[in-house]
Amino acid sequence: MPPALSRRRFLASGVAGATLLARAPAVLGQQPRELNVWHTEVEPQTVKVIQDTSIAEFEKKFPGFKVRQQALSWGDLNTKLLASLAAGGPPDLTHLNPFMTASLHTKGLLRPMDELIRALGEKDIHEATLKLQYFDGKYYGVTHAMGATYFAERRDLREKKGIKPPETWADMLQLAAALTEDGRFALQMPGEKLYIGFVHPAEWLAENGGSWVDPKTWRPQLNSKAMLEALEYAQKLNRFQPQGWSGQKYLDTLAALANGKVAMAHLSGARTIGYIEKYAPEGTRDPEHFMPLLRPHGPSGKVGVSALDGENWAVFTQSKYPNEAFEFLRLFYKKENYLQYCHSVPIHLSPIFKSMLTDPAYLANERIKKWKPWHDVMMSGLRSGRFLPIGFSRPDDNVLPFLAELDGSGIVADMVVEVMVGGKTPKAEADRAQKRAEELLTQLGAKRWS
């Protein structure tokens, strides 16, 4: 046989052989069963904690199983989730945005988890998150951790000017004007579509007596008085931001706050602390200089609202190993494991259990001790109802099955950006957005108004 042909054959058979070898374990039936767990906490230390605590304990308890955790950003999670759902093979357990959960539930894609909730202690779970995925009398999700958001401000700068914390939007504009000087801007908003086009508009609506849609007819309210006032507020506030804010990201605003380019980060959670510790000038890395500031309310509203970050775990109807998924969650929320999990990004990942929030073992963490005022602001905010889940304009928005699509369509984002960055008139843009939103909801089959 001529050497050339045999060499080519060899290559070809090599590929075929490799294919066979890859499938062999499946064929031989010796492959361990895999529990697929997807989540959005991409910090390396959190991934490690999950691996070392919950996964290790789970694999010891269920020797035939291997847990495959996947940490993804929201955008990536969305893409993969869609691909897997289309193929009929979603992960066993995943994080979901609360505003997406209803959409999945109404299509019958989620499993109830009442037993798990009861095992975790219904009464111990904080009210702010307990009923978020409570549909038709059953629980379909449980929040993995809570993270309050607010402004993060240079408290020392504001106090030097003698200005009180702003209570109304008008106050806020005055504060912004006062803090913009010497090449420094008062604030910076995150430039991502999700925040400026969904999270913040939801907050503005909530703190100005508005809502995404009429609660009964589901008719969009994008050109309502509440929204128009919000757009005017945003347009005015824009003057006190660096001009290129729309091209930067949320994390850039935190860096800008840390190194003094702006006096306030418009959206901030406890992640900001990490930036302060890393990039702020020496001597300012403490709560005397950097503090959270709760949001003001609008002219038509009563109390300021900011977003409560907290994805919920969910198990699919089509999940391959649902029982094991629930078992995993039990281990995840076990006190020793959960404590370490929350400590991996302190304060940003706050426990959902009321008992843990005041537990000395939890509070003994170094960072929490140093930055205790931040934790306290969250606690007081929770008590006075200053937080709503991300994207919600009212507490009952959890049942709306089209928030994910509304956010994804960018209709609201386009409106806000055209007003803020494009300088267009709010009324015209709001009317256009209203028309597009009505069209979208009709296409999705959610039209209940006439």
Partner: protein, 291 residues
């Protein structure tokens, strides 16, 4: 030339299998799906015929995306061509360090898109980017320019895209340049031709084939380009100012969650490219290059 048809098909079989299975099937799937109304979460769909297409014909967002997509493809292709050809002509001349320069020129094409985008977003950042610092220091501008903001984002995107892909043109064109017989140039010089005339009368005709293919391929690839556009500004507030057709198609499927409509957009893009290619071939009649 052996006329053994069977052996021929056998040897071709693996290629056809892979292409047929892994590309043609998804294309067919999209064609089929575009005729349905399907929510991206659900494995079921409702037949609606050409409704999705009719919708897009009247959708301002679609025409917006078409405009941005075509502008993006055309402008980037033209500049990739000009820059690439110029660089190739330069690198065709002998000088010290030519080999090194050739390697450096290829750098943008070699790195992953994510790295290229990160790099340019870093440079063009209005607060701490190098570009603004240099411009301010040189006195060219008085205030930092918002390169990634509404007014300049398309420009920045084009800049990044041209930088990223012009090496393809360089390499392809340079290769052809190197095979042009030097006698042709000598003859022209003897006839008294200037550099420009030599280019017009010797270089251009000799490389017209390659140019034809380069323009075609780059146009197709820039028209369907997704990665660079999305990574640069897809999730940013200013995304609507660079919302090209591929981005809009992706959005309809993955964020509006309307999979049937996204598929329809993909099919529309495909149809547009088919039509454009057909016209292109008719105009320039270079079938010999492909057969």
């Amino acid at each position: 030339m052996r006329k053994n048809a069977l052996a021929g098909w056998l040897l071709l079989a693996p290629s056809l299998l892979l292409i047929g299975g892994l590309i043609l099937y998804p294309i067919a799937y999209n064609l089929w799906l575009s005729l349905f109304d399907k929510h991206a979460f659900m494995p079921v769909q409702k037949f609606v015929g050409l409704q999705n297409y009719r919708y897009f014909a009247g959708d301002p967002e679609f025409w917006n995306a078409f405009y941005y997509g075509t502008v993006y493809a055309a402008v980037t292709m033209v500049f990739q061509l000009l820059l690439g050809v110029a660089a190739a002509l330069l690198l065709n001349e002998a000088f010290h360090g030519r080999a090194l320069l050739r390697g450096v020129v290829l750098f943008p094409y070699v790195i992953p898109t994510i790295v290229a985008v990160i790099l340019w977003k870093w440079l063009l950042n209005d607060s701490y980017g190098l570009v603004n610092y240099l411009l301010l220091a040189a006195g060219v501008v008085r205030a930092p320019v918002a390169w990634l903001g509404k007014d300049w984002i398309m420009f920045s995107l084009v800049l990044t895209s041209v930088w990223q892909f012009f090496p393809f043109v360089v390499v392809t064109y340079l290769a052809r340049l190197q095979t042009i017989p030097p006698e042709l140039y000598e003859a022209a010089t003897v006839d008294g031709a200037t550099v420009w005339r030599r280019f017009l009368h010797v270089t251009l005709p000799q490389t017209s084939n390659v140019l034809f293919v380069i323009v075609l391929l780059r146009s197709i690839w820039m028209f369907t380009k997704f990665d660079t556009v999305w990574l640069m500004a897809g999730e940013s507030a200013v995304s609507r100012y660079v919302r090209t057709l591929p981005v809009y198609a992706y959005a309809r499927s993955f964020t509006y969650l309307q999979a049937g409509m996204g598929a329809a957009l993909a099919v529309i893009m495909f149809g547009m490219l088919l039509a454009a290619t057909f016209v292109y071939f008719r105009l320039f009649r270079e079938e010999e290059v492909l057969t």
